[in-house]
Symmetry: C2
Subunit: 258 residues, 2 copies
Amino acid sequence: MNVLLIYAHPEPRSLNGSLRDFTIQRLRQAGHSVQVSDLYAMRWKAAIDADDSTDQDPDARFDPARDSKRAFDSGTQREDIAREQDKLRWADTVILQFPLWWFSMPAILKGWVDRVYAYGFAYGVGEHSDRHWGDRYGEGSLAGKRAMLVVTAGGWESHYGPRGINGPIDDVLFPIQHGVLYYPGFSVLPPFVVYRSSRTDEARFADLCDALGQRLDALETTAPIAYRRQNAGDYEIPALTLREHIAPERVGFAAHIE
Amino acid sequence: MNVLLIYAHPEPRSLNGSLRDFTIQRLRQAGHSVQVSDLYAMRWKAAIDADDSTDQDPDARFDPARDSKRAFDSGTQREDIAREQDKLRWADTVILQFPLWWFSMPAILKGWVDRVYAYGFAYGVGEHSDRHWGDRYGEGSLAGKRAMLVVTAGGWESHYGPRGINGPIDDVLFPIQHGVLYYPGFSVLPPFVVYRSSRTDEARFADLCDALGQRLDALETTAPIAYRRQNAGDYEIPALTLREHIAPERVGFAAHIE
């Protein structure tokens, strides 16, 4: 299997760095091919702007969506963007690994999403009609591939529990797992989350590697989160609200899981 | 009143640019002082790294939290970071204005949060004991100030409704409103959200300005979202879960609103 690891931490000698090294080794020992996008090491450009294509008219009004589509369609994207899209095409499984900063990704990883997810590649794909609202949420360019988050958090597990002050971890990660991964077609595996990340001694690190190793060994067999497909009958189109008879008592993020 | 507008869009001739100009004019006409951090125009550095302080030992292991604290305490932060913190101290109200990209902020704005929110400034503030878990979620360096989001989204309002496929807008914005704004002490006003942002003709733009203008006129009097205070008795400490008798039937983000 081809595995792409998108990794975002500034310090190789960190817990994240050690988990990254463990992940690569474990996957290669299992016979998988691994590519790594180490965003800090690559000095990844985070901010989408008019320099993201080679043919942008400097006097034209820059439109992030429209211009990313033109560049994607005409082969005039910046090379760093096109290269990441090629890696995504190559991958069977993608792992995003990052520390949870302010309840989301580090900026450099958000900038990978903003720039690599071009119009025509990750969104604006497929037919738009009164029965099909684009190939997204279960369909799309990345359908058939799997994705998983590996996340470190400073807070305690209880802080991210059902009644924890930070909100449930599944809800905190929903905009990423559902909005960034499921949207263009990935099947999303349950996340691997490390809590109290600053309190990791050697014994705990060994336990973490055991647990992560089991998840990596099971990448091909783990059941994905059962997000509902947009165009398979559960949603009204174009309102994109759940039909009345679908989980009629439920609202919010969890309603979008079967 | 002093109003700080943190603005993140790459194109001044966009809907966001027009709403920004309207906002500045409306606030100044009402007699407020306005400062703007136009992150694209400032070429804001998005990725936190060892260059964010002037006294980082190049051979030392970089720790984003610990090193931001050292730099904050010793006055060795990069000047761009210190300047934004000064603007936050100056402000009575802060507006974050941005397009919703992939259900979160643009990377350049996330990088403003990641870098300006130093340890000792926006987190790691106050006593940690078995009755008080730091000055956060209702207390903190920015307590007494107000904050509001102004957000444009490409999707329809129904897509962000209680049963909409993207998730309810209040939940999509919770990691920002609760996690980024309420956490260091801001009182958070309900957001101003523009849906179907790419379908804005002159008549609709006039309507949007009317609605936004009313929100700006009422910045000082609008009731904030009633998020629960961490250290005022609603939460177990240190588990930081809601006490049994507090909204006993509720879980998830909404449980943290009174």
